[in-house]
């Protein structure tokens, strides 16, 4: 808006106000109706769907499915889209670049869109971008709401007894909440492990990665698993390192 358009708006708004109604009671009455309804709805939900008490925290057992509140599902889904499988989709896109770019764009919206037009049907770019953002947020939230269930079995051949034990540990410790092997388990945020063995890593690398993921993979968002026994680490590492090569 140039200076003239700004002045025209101010003059027009002063007219609108002069021909308007007093804030109390006209606007206050509408505000109170909607706010009372909203608070009533919250009380209704609190009675109708009480919040249960979950399982107490136990950092030693890891049979969990890390789920954020529903309004963070879209960020969670972004993590699944960008999961470090190739150079074009690094995790940092989902954890840092995309959210921050969106945040900055949102903050500076009034300084990008400075035209005098306020009617949305005359603002095609604003209409399209607004509808698209709402659509994608809704879509990602919907995807995130489809909770990955606990998996019971993965069909793999040639498993040694040691790898068999590793598979049991893999299933029992909620790894399927973030990783998939042969289409079993969530498609993200963690990488697909079907061909983990082909990456040429050592058993020791796998163990170090389990104890502290960021020591071997900087920037990893995987939680650390420091509470297995030496034997359990060995079993898991053998299982993981053979995926796609020995065990298919």
């Amino acid at each position: 808006m140039n200076k003239g358009e700004q002045e025209a708006y101010k003059r027009d708004y002063a007219l609108a106000k002069a021909q308007g109604k007093p804030f109390f009671p006209y606007a206050v009455y509408k505000d109170l109706v909607v706010a009372t309804f909203a608070i009533g709805f919250v009380i209704f939900l609190a009675i109708w769907a009480p919040i249960p008490v979950g399982e107490p925290v136990n950092p030693a057992t890891t049979d969990f499915v890390p789920r954020p509140e529903w309004y963070f599902f879209f960020l969670f889904e972004l993590l699944k889209i960008f999961k470090n499988e190739n150079a074009l989709t690094p995790v940092i896109m989902a954890t840092f670049i995309v959210p921050n770019v969106l945040m900055v764009l949102l903050l500076i919206t009034p300084f990008i869109d400075r035209g005098p037009e306020r009617r949305i049907w005359r603002r095609p770019i604003a209409l399209t971008s607004g509808v698209m953002v709402i659509f994608f947020l809704g879509y990602l939230t919907h995807l995130g709401a489809e909770s990955p269930g606990a998996e019971t079995g993965i069909e793999l051949e040639n498993l040694t007894p040691e790898a068999e034990a590793g598979l049991e540990l893999y299933l029992a410790n909620g790894c399927t909440a973030c990783h998939a092997i042969k289409d079993v388990g969530a498609p993200g945020p963690g990488p697909n492990l079907t061909n983990e063995g082909e990456k040429g890593r050592t058993i020791q690398w796998q163990i170090d990665h389990l104890i502290d993921p960021r020591s071997t993979t900087p920037g990893s968002t995987m939680p650390a698993y420091p509470n297995f026994t030496d034997q359990e680490y060995q079993e898991l590492a053998v299982f993981l390192n053979g995926l796609g090569t020995e065990f298919r």
Binding site: A27, V33, V57, T95
Partner: protein, 297 residues
């Protein structure tokens, strides 16, 4: 009883008895007089009563919409979160050994505890929904445009703080799902370049998730962000009352004004300059379809 007598009974504070209306000099009940005197006393020293009257009875555009109640609703829900949050804080213990038990106590034993906790949890979701709807309304109305750019900026900051409230509050229930979700969330923070690891260390109160993490999240959730939200609500409101609430872009008044402007231009075109023929209307000019033309004079 003469007017003089009444004035000596209830002297007006500024002594301008002659200028006061008829009902003002009628005898008053002791209660009413005391309230009025208190009001005058406060107003003389703070301007609060006058300010309040200005706030309540200032004009807003006549065609304000129901969509424009969402901002107030978000603020009301924040108030609800504050009240239920204070009640919960009276029973909650931010300590890894007792946090979960205190949640159990609130939910199962405390009088109406389950209701208050449910209201706080559902209220958080409701607040997110209402804040998003409010933002969508402002966006689609173009209400963030001149002169309300800074109102939008403070509003976006309020939305970020609301979401951060959700993140920090989620850990406080100290159950498996919340704990591990927060571990992942903090790991995500740590993976950000340059500042990420530092911010993650600040959130975790150290390099690992530990007992101090919970009390740190508690302090952030209880003190830091609510303080920030309250400050920014005050700024947001200050800007809104200063600039006035936007008129709906489809207000009938706006269309009427546009029609009048066009009619005025039409008259200017038809005006006869001295000694000349009227300028003929351009054959290519067509009045826009969207303006109802019956009122054009």
């Amino acid at each position: 009883m003469s007017t003089q007598d009444i004035e000596t009974q209830t002297p007006s504070p500024d002594g301008e008895g002659a200028a006061v209306g008829a009902e003002d000099i009628a005898p008053k009940g002791a209660m009413k007089g005391a309230i009025e005197k208190t009001g005058d006393y406060v107003d003389e020293r703070s301007g609060l009563v006058t300010g309040h009257k200005w706030f309540l009875f200032r004009n807003v555009p006549g065609e304000t919409s129901w969509f424009q109640t969402l901002g107030f609703t978000a603020m009301a829900l924040f108030g609800l979160q504050a009240i239920t949050g204070i009640v919960l804080a009276m029973y909650y213990k931010p300590d890894p050994n007792t946090a979960f038990q205190s949640i159990q106590f609130i939910t199962n034993d405390a009088t109406w505890g389950s209701l208050v906790r449910g209201m706080h949890r559902w209220g958080a979701s409701a607040m997110i929904v209402v804040v998003f709807l409010h933002m969508a309304r402002v966006f689609f109305w173009g209400a963030y445009k001149y002169p309300r750019e800074l109102t939008w900026v403070t509003g976006v900051i309020l939305m970020f703080m609301t979401m951060f409230m959700g993140l920090t509050g989620y850990l406080l229930v100290w159950d498996q799902k919340a704990y591990w979700a927060t571990v992942v969330a903090v790991n995500i923070t740590a993976s950000a370049p340059v500042l990420g690891p530092f911010v993650a260390d600040i959130l975790r109160a150290g390099p690992e998730f530990g007992p101090n993490t919970l009390s740190r999240f508690y302090a952030i959730h209880m003190l830091v962000i609510p303080g920030g939200i309250a400050t920014f609500i005050a700024l947001h409101l200050l800007l809104i009352t200063k600039l006035g609430i936007a008129e709906p872009p489809w207000a009938k008044r706006r269309f009427r004004a546009a029609r009048e402007e066009e009619a005025e231009r039409e008259r200017m075109r038809a005006r006869t300059p001295a000694g000349r023929e009227p300028v003929p209307a351009s054959p290519s000019f067509e009045p826009p379809q969207s303006w109802p033309s019956k009122d054009v004079s």
